[in-house]
Amino acid sequence: MRRSVTTVLGLLVVAAAGVVVALLPRAVGEFRLGQFTYVAIYFIALLGLNILTGYNGQISLGHGAFMAIGGYTSAVLILGRSGFGLAGQHPSHVLPEHGVRPIWTIAIAGLVTGIIGYLFGLPALRLAGVSLALATFAVAVSMPQITKRFDHLTGGGGGLSLPLPQAPFGWDISPSHWLYYEAWVTAGILLLVAWLLVRGRVGRAWRGIRDGEVAAVSSGVNPSVYKTLAFGISSAYAGVAGALFAIQNAYINPDTFPLTLSILLLASVVIGGLSSLSGVIVGALVLEFLPIYAQDPPLLHASFAKQAAPVVFGVVLMVIVFLLPGGAASLLRRLARPLVALASRRAG
């Protein structure tokens, strides 16, 4: 009884959120809308990371790198060799001659990143906790250098400029509105997919492996299959997020997805709540707005240096660990409990 009440409440909340998302463009200006587009993008990336680290227990300090892969895949496909040539670089012959529609590139970016993530997950099977964290950390640090090196694929240090996306079918909406909706609809679809995965057999297998691999094996779960799957899906999500990011940013270069981002992604997942889908939105909001508010806190009439943001982030993360290890999600659950109890009583 309780479970279905929680589910119904959850669906109501999601529906309400959906309404808010749909109506938001009417209420806010262009710049704010862009910020909320980034929230959607981070939401997608954090969903992916939560699947890997929260539900499956594999630490990734390198998700920014997967976003970079997705971003670059999308960017070079959108430009095509002709687009590259315009920038005066020497593109690889692997790339198609003309650009591909951005909307397709997002899906392709997700697929490509997912495959690469899956391939990364294979040797990662041999690495436990610490070593895996190191390996992913290393990937995140190395990615900018690698992208600079292979400039015939990536445009090198100069980066790639992307055209503003046009809405398809001749719809009359501005690029920023189009992107906003594109990002949020994608986020919604991917949220649904994540929810189905997590509550089903796959999710149970993931959690079983996280909580005790030996026990999971004895209940018939093949950890290798599920762990690499988690890597693949998680990085696919990051790839999609990266692609959207590149398009929204209209520019990508090796420093668009720095090490800091990888670290803050992990921090945000924890702040939102590991292995909980409800907190991910909090994580995404924090990731986008905390740096801004740390610098110019709205209530205090003070302005701090740019470096205040990471300090606040770090301190918030530590406070969460001390006081609220379940992250924002556990707080939400605690607040929702009386509501759920009330609803159960009414229903029962």
Partner: protein
């Protein structure tokens, strides 16, 4: 490939590799010290080292001569390390590993931001106690600074080894690393042993930072790459083996230098990724590292 291969060149790459490797070894040993006793990788080790190096810089900027500033910084680092363990780590001692790792990542983020906030992001020059000259050893010109760095770092490691081998406190700390529960039954205050471990780790970090700063220049992100190399060295040597950390550090320093100098593909930019690729290969072949203990999982 450099135009001519000379033995002089080769020897110089090796010595500078050993110097860099000594720095990696110090920080790697710090990581292993903490990992041995608490099963936690302190992601903030590099940032703690940066912070103490900045403190040294400030002391010298205010007029304190090098070696007194060095010594004072080590004392501050020790105290800081002990304080961090008692205040921040102890309350969450019994939580799962992942949680404590996240805490150290929080510390990483916060300390990195803090150093940038207090001292600003501009690069600062940091003095070396050793002159920037060369000495001819066996027909090869070797940098005095490299020799100095190597000796200071390895010297510290040796002193620590002597401490652990011959003193009561050192024995107690080793006992705690092997079997904390049994140590308690021997009357050991395990908590304070852990705190001491953090203190020593912080000292190692400070030394690594102060030895590296003259060459890689002091800025808030100075130790991030060093941390990765140290991390790699520790894992390469076996995350629970102090010897492994030192050997791994030196080995990594030399190999990275040689690869960077002699393999065109690697050049200067891909040194780190290549080193890590090598590390990954080693790990796949031998997951517990060169000197690590193989853990049998019993069901």
């Amino acid at each position: 490939m450099p135009l001519f291969f000379t033995w002089t060149d080769f020897a110089q790459q090796i010595t500078s590799g050993l110097a860099a490797g000594a720095v990696y070894a110090s920080l790697a040993l710090a990581l292993v010290l903490i990992y041995q006793t608490t099963n936690v990788v302190n992601f903030a080790q590099g940032e703690m080292a940066t912070l103490t190096t900045y403190i040294a810089w400030t002391l010298m900027d205010r007029g304190l001569p090098y070696w007194p500033a060095f010594a004072l910084t080590l004392a501050i680092a020790f105290g800081g390390g002990v304080a961090v363990e008692r205040v921040l780590i102890r309350p969450v001692e019994h939580r799962p590993e992942l949680v404590i790792v996240i805490l150290t990542i929080g510390m990483l983020i916060a300390i990195n931001g803090l150093t940038g906030w207090i001292w600003g992001p501009e690069v600062k020059l940091f003095d070396s106690p050793f002159p920037n000259s060369s000495v001819i050893v066996g027909g090869v010109a070797v940098s005095v600074r490299d020799i100095g760095t190597f000796c200071v770092c390895l010297g510290t490691v040796v002193v620590l080894w002597l401490f652990f081998r011959f003193t009561t406190l050192g024995l107690a700390m080793r006992a705690v690393a092997f079997n904390p529960a049994a140590s308690r039954l021997m009357g050991v205050r395990v908590g304070w042993m852990l705190a001491l471990g953090w203190g020593f780790a912080a000292v190692l970090g400070a030394i690594a930072g102060m030895m590296a700063a003259p060459s890689i220049f002091l800025d808030p992100d100075m130790m991030i790459v060093v941390l990765i190399y140290a991390f790699a060295a520790a894992v390469l040597g076996g995350i629970d083996s102090p010897i492994g950390a030192v050997v791994g550090g030196l080995l990594l320093g030399v190999v990275v230098n040689l690869l960077g100098a002699y393999v065109d593909f690697v050049g200067q930019e891909l040194r780190l990724p290549t080193a890590l690729a090598v590390l990954l290969v080693v790990l796949i072949v031998r997951p517990t590292g060169l000197f690590g203990r193989v853990h049998v999982r019993r069901v």
